[in-house]
């Protein structure tokens, strides 16, 4: 279980998170929605320990990672798979080495044949068989994202964090990624935290949806609850209208 309590975070005087509370139960898929720049990615980075809160605690399986020394934090980070917004593939390594990177650094597999099998299996899951020896610079944006996804799930993590998984991929692949997120939950019991603005994807994969606004959670609830919300802020966002309490200048 992941529990964020009273998270405050400032970047150069700009307060991004203002007392954020969020609990993520094991085995569920939670989707975090909100305007660009409202702190969704920052929240994800707090969960995995890439950022430390100015105030508040981040508990992963009852361990507060906000105060953990680097080496112990590293062992907690092994529980996570992270798909970055821009995929963040290592430019100097080919697709296969990118995907197997975590398997090697975490010493999860030592047999080269097994590593290659796992790489091929992950590539098959994201629909990109046979590109093991391609360099990231030769891939399109959508393909990079899918390789990033393959890398995130290669080590069979307990929690997978997706930072805008369907942005920049075509609608068909977007649906395939949604299926993959659902499959990961159903077959492997993975807990998924998805950050997105894609409402179709959010409704498809989510058990619960959390809307972020002004550095806190505006509303959290099941897909049905969010669809039938009475909160004007949430309503405006999910229906995608320019008029309402959220103005265009308001970054949320």
């Amino acid at each position: 279980m992941i529990k964020l309590t009273g998270i405050y975070k400032k970047f150069n005087q700009q307060e991004v998170l203002r007392g954020l509370d969020l609990t993520i139960n094991d085995g569920e898929t939670i989707v975090i929605i909100g305007r660009s720049g409202c702190g969704k990615s920052v929240t994800l980075k707090h969960i995995v320990g890439l950022l430390k809160p100015d105030q508040g605690s981040v508990e992963v399986d009852d361990v507060n990672i906000a105060t953990l020394p680097p080496l112990e934090l590293q062992s907690i980070q092994k529980k996570f798979g992270f798909l970055f917004q821009g995929a963040a593939l290592f430019d100097s390594l080919n697709v296969s080495d990118n995907i197997s990177f975590g398997l090697r650094t975490q010493h999860l597999m030592s047999d080269e044949k097994k590593i290659q099998e796992r790489v091929a299996e992950c590539l098959r899951l994201v629909g990109l068989e046979g590109i093991e020896h391609t360099m990231p610079s030769e891939l399109s944006g959508g393909m990079r994202k899918r390789v990033g996804l393959a890398r995130a799930i290669a080590a069979k993590p307990q929690y997978v964090l997706y930072d805008e998984p369907t942005t920049g991929v075509d609608p068909i692949m977007s649906d395939a990624i949604n299926d993959l997120i659902i499959n990961m939950k159903e077959k492997l019991g993975v807990t998924s935290i998805v950050v997105t603005h894609d409402m179709v994807s959010a409704y498809t994969v989510a058990d619960r949806i959390a809307m972020m606004y002004h550095g806190t959670i505006q509303q959290i609830g099941t897909t049905r609850e969010i669809k039938n919300t009475l909160d004007p802020v949430v309503k405006q966002f999910i229906t995608g209208t320019a008029k309402g309490p959220i103005t265009l200048e308001d970054r949320g």
Binding site: L50, Q77, A88
Partner: protein, 281 residues
């Protein structure tokens, strides 16, 4: 009660006071900024030391970086050191001819200058420009494209995986390149002395070996180890703290090269003084 000078109103005084405050605030911010950077650099240095001795050792990566820093810098180091050796011989020959009527102690001048000063400093500056810039640009790009964050999430420590191999390569390869540069500089001086100024080759040789002592060579080598540390630390630190996309990478790279070069020259002055004081060279 304050007495006002004639012609000076209270408003003017307040304004002056505010101006003073601004200067103090600006200076304060600047000093705190520098202290912050120095603190983080020292911290990075200790992290490097910690991760260097922690298993497993990443020989593949270290080998790759050694190749990048050392082998790939051979051509540019050769060109600069031969040229400098030649020009030193030319100048020393001309100067002693003007003063004493014949070119004297050309070998001594070339040998001492190369081994103690120009070899280490020039090699380090060339490496700071070639390798330091590349390191900052590469790590900076990795920072802004979240690759460094990705390393953390995949269970690899970026200091261990990225910085340690580059640090070791600089610390080992800068001295090796300096020795190489010393030799080439002396050879360059030899050609000018023998073929242009008609100094007998044995004289050039004895001018060097009769005066140059082991501790003079050690003096140069100690300096270039320190310069290697400076290049690696500054370039990795600047890369790791890059912000702001492609423009940020460009800025960080420029700053990294400029800071490394200035630090090399400033450190050289202090280090030469200290080494001479304790009797090394």
């Amino acid at each position: 009660m304050h007495k006002h000078l004639p012609g000076e109103s209270l408003e003017q005084k307040i304004e002056e006071r505010l101006e003073e405050d601004k200067v103090i605030k600006f200076l304060g911010k600047y000093i705190v900024g520098i202290a912050d950077h120095i603190g983080k650099l020292v911290l990075l240095f200790f992290q490097i030391i910690f991760w260097t001795f922690r298993r497993p050792y990443d020989f593949k990566n270290i080998n790759k970086q050694m190749n990048e820093v050392g082998v790939n810098s051979l051509v540019v180091t050769s060109l600069t050191s031969i040229s400098v050796g030649m020009v030193l011989a030319l100048q020393m020959g001309a100067a002693s001819k003007n003063i004493l009527g014949e070119p004297l102690y050309v070998g001594t001048a070339v040998g001492f200058s190369m081994v103690k000063e120009l070899g280490p400093v020039l090699t380090s500056i060339v490496i700071a420009g070639r390798v330091g810039a590349a390191i900052t640009a590469e790590l900076g790009t990795m920072r802004v494209t979240e690759q460094i964050d990705a390393l953390y999430t995949l269970g690899a420590n970026p200091v261990k995986y990225l910085v340690v191999p580059r640090f070791l390569s600089c610390v080992v390869m800068v001295p090796i390149l300096t020795i190489y540069s010393n030799i080439l500089g002396i050879v360059g001086g030899f050609f000018v002395s023998v073929y242009k100024m008609a100094i007998p080759s044995t004289r050039y040789y004895h001018d060097i070996v009769d005066f140059l002592r082991g501790k003079d060579i050690i003096h140069g080598l100690i300096k270039c180890v320190v310069f290697g540390i400076i290049i690696a630390l500054i370039s990795c630190y600047k890369g790791f703290t890059t912000e702001g996309g492609a423009e940020g990478v460009g800025k960080a790279t420029t700053q990294s090269v400029v800071i490394s070069m200035v630090l090399i020259l400033v450190t050289d002055t202090f280090l030469t003084n200290i080494l001479q004081f304790i009797g090394i060279g």
